[in-house]
């Protein structure tokens, strides 16, 4: 049957096969390498953040503890009597008055007095920071540095600690806290949810359950897809022009209260929340549509079959079945809003505010913006607290995503038990 047998003799065929096999192996290796690189990127990312959170810090006290109470190197060693004495004598009068207006010195706990003395009197200044790996493997460098700088000492500390979460904003990295930013983020997420959830789910219900496949609805669908792919900074520009500027009377609250505050402007939580609501709206719509699509048509048919109306079918049959996926998707959309920075910078989140947000007409800052500001400053210690803030953000995101998955699992389990 060897007519026109132009595929080569056996040894040619075999060597060709070898070449083809080798080619396949090389590419297989390329694929595995690419995959390993992707995993490596994640590891490097997390590592570089964690590395800055723990490590040695070289400090120099402005006023050393031994000056305050001779013989004692650490404020923690002071007796209660010494603590109160140092506070009343050495604290500047302005600060002393402010503190006593909240509660008298004797009502403060030891720990609080220690922290006051450290923050306002001893005032350690950061000279240099080292990352975790540096601290482990190049400890000699740390020692050499401390030896070279007079009056300095090095502490191995973590930049993330309980008072980091509840502390005020501060220009001193040692005492900076993310409470204000955290509250800002939470307030914004609340506003975003309040607007985006009902509108998004409602729009999705319309598109999926009511809309016929005509021109208008195809345009609506395409439009939503486009909106979901618009860069987030554009939403910031939209929010700036519409909410902050045009609707200033509403968003600054001057319409609703007789605000005589001259600094009232539209750069408020309400504006921020509305802007992000617009941003996550397409995501919620698309996600809800998917959840509704997954509901089998037979369910709707059987509901109509017993004479239920469309809305009754949707409210009593379709939604209960799809609520877990809708909620999961919404939580994920909100976690996206949590991480957004650019739109809020554009609409004018405050760069430094000292008061916590008290309502929707307050000025605000958010956790990602705080990270942005700290990351942008070249002084070493800011890098560390930026990393600490990132860890906080990631933990918060992890909690939200876990809540999403938990919600989905719990509700779908409940559904299975009931059916």
């Amino acid at each position: 049957m060897d007519t026109k047998f132009a595929f080569g003799k056996t040894n040619e065929v075999n060597s060709l096969m070898e070449k083809r096999r080798r080619n396949g192996l090389v590419w297989h290796l390329v694929f595995i390498l690419s995959t390993s690189l992707a995993i490596l990127f994640l590891i490097l990312l997390l590592f570089s953040i964690l590395d800055s959170v723990f490590g040695y810090t070289a400090l120099r006290d402005t006023v050393s503890p031994t000056v305050l109470v001779p013989g004692k190197d650490h404020v923690k060693e002071f007796t209660r009597e010494e603590l109160e004495r140092v506070v009343t004598e050495k604290l500047s009068s302005g600060i002393l008055r402010r503190i006593e207006s909240e509660k008298s010195i004797s009502e403060h706990s030891d720990k609080e007095l220690v922290s006051l003395i450290e923050q306002y009197i001893v005032k350690p200044k950061v000279l240099k920071t080292w990352g975790f790996t540096d601290s482990l493997f190049h400890a000699s460098e740390v020692e050499a540095f401390v030896a070279g700088e007079e009056d300095s000492y090095a502490l191995f500390r973590s930049w993330i600690h309980p008072s980091f979460f509840v502390g005020d904003q501060s220009s001193d990295p040692l005492h900076a806290g993310i409470r204000t930013a955290l509250l800002g983020s939470l307030w914004i997420m609340l506003i975003t949810f309040m607007f985006a959830f009902p509108i998004g789910v409602g729009a999705a219900i319309y598109l999926q359950e009511y809309a016929v496949d005509n021109r208008l609805n195809r345009v609506l669908q395409l439009n939503i897809f486009n909106l979901s792919a618009v860069p987030s900074i554009i939403y910031g520009l939209l929010g700036l022009a519409v909410f902050v500027r045009s609707m200033e009377s509403v968003t600054s609250g001057s319409l609703f209260t007789s605000l005589t505050d001259n600094t009232a402007n539209g750069r408020t939580i309400l504006s921020g929340g509305l802007t992000l609501a617009l941003l996550v709206l397409p995501i919620i719509i698309i996600n809800t549509q998917e959840a509704l699509k997954a509901v089998p048509d037979s369910l709707r048919m059987s509901s109509y079959g017993i004479g239920a109306t469309k809305w009754q079918t949707i409210w009593y049959q379709v939604l209960p079945v799809s609520v877990d996926r809708i909620l999961t998707g919404t939580i994920l959309a909100l976690s996206r809003a949590l991480g957004e920075t650019a739109p809020l910078v554009v609409i004018g989140a405050s760069t430094f505010i000292s008061v916590d947000p008290s309502g929707i007409f307050s000025k605000f800052t958010t956790l990602p913006i705080q990270i942005y500001q700290w990351s942008a400053r070249p002084q070493g210690a800011y890098r560390n607290i930026a990393a600490a803030a990132i860890v906080s953000l990631l933990i918060l995101l992890l909690v939200m995503n876990s809540a999403a998955i938990y919600t989905r699992d719990k509700i779908s389990k409940k559904k299975r038990l009931e059916s």
């Binding site: 026109k4 595929f7 096969m17 083809r20």
Partner: protein, 272 residues
């Protein structure tokens, strides 16, 4: 009647043909994971004859077919015990390269699956990756003629293959298979997705192809089996859903004088 005249042609043909075994299955047992899909299948396939595998659904006829060109390897967890000999060589020995096997033993599938490329490229691709050094234009023409498709497409070789009709696509898949010059062509219900006219043309084609190639065809259409095949293997399934070879004989013999009760029942349509 046309069916008897085909059968007469076939058996007359056979009497003059020297019968050489090209594929031999010896005690073949195929498992998917722990499930035994086919047990103790033994039969011989004769060169340049058409052999049909028939039987109810789930009887393992497609599984056995796929084991001959090692396409079962694609299914995770599939194992084969026993021997599948191709010209005396066991195809399941560890040093056998399945890729080379498939060049020698080609396959046509139930649903026509041409590549989303031009008609020319569909045929040339298989040859190219197998290192064909001859004239590609000639190869394409010869293959299309061999599949009785040349006249219909010779002016539109660059056209996308997906624009052909279902029957034309299937003939293209046959042309594609013969372009790599196999010895055996396996066909898994090649006409079941086609209309009756296209089916007829495929059956005519099979009768021409057997002059050059050994053909094994799986079909659920008994009329088709009796029309085109020289030998027929009837597979059955037992209570444990394992398939086995019930009866194997020359086609005329099997249809006119079946040895087993089950064969007779299947042929007369008592179950499907």
């Amino acid at each position: 009647m046309s069916s008897t005249s085909y059968a007469q042609v076939v058996s007359a043909d056979q009497a003059n043909n020297y019968k050489e075994t090209v594929i031999e299955l010896k005690d073949v047992n195929i498992r998917y994971g722990s499930f035994l899909a086919v047990k103790d299948a033994s039969l011989s396939i004769y060169q340049k004859h058409v052999t049909a595998f028939i039987g109810p659904s789930g009887c393992g006829k497609s599984t056995v077919l796929r084991s001959i060109n090692r396409m079962n390897d694609m299914i995770p967890g599939s194992t084969l015990k026993g021997q599948v000999l191709f010209n005396g060589h066991d195809l399941y020995e560890p040093q056998v390269d399945a890729v080379l096997v498939r060049r020698k033993i080609g396959m046509v599938f139930q649903k026509p699956n041409p590549f989303p490329k031009s008609i020319y490229e569909n045929i040339a691709w298989g040859a190219r990756i197998n290192g064909f050094k001859g004239d590609y234009d000639e190869l394409v023409e010869t293959s299309l003629k061999g599949a009785a498709l040349w006249d219909e497409v010779k002016d539109k070789l660059k056209q996308n293959a997906l624009r052909l009709s279902g029957g034309q696509q299937q003939r293209l898949c046959i042309a594609r298979a013969i372009a790599v010059q196999p010895e055996i062509i396996l066909m898994d219900e090649p006409a079941s997705a086609l209309d009756p006219i296209a089916t007829g043309r495929i059956e005519e084609l099979i009768l021409e192809l057997k002059n050059d190639y050994t053909i094994i065809i799986v079909t659920h259409n008994m009329g088709q089996a009796s029309r085109v095949s020289d030998y027929t293997a009837f597979f059955m399934v037992d209570e444990k859903r394992t398939g086995y070879l019930q009866e194997y004989a020359q086609t005329e013999q099997l249809f006119l004088n079946p040895q087993h009760k089950k064969t007779e029942e299947y042929i007369s349509g008592k179950f499907g």
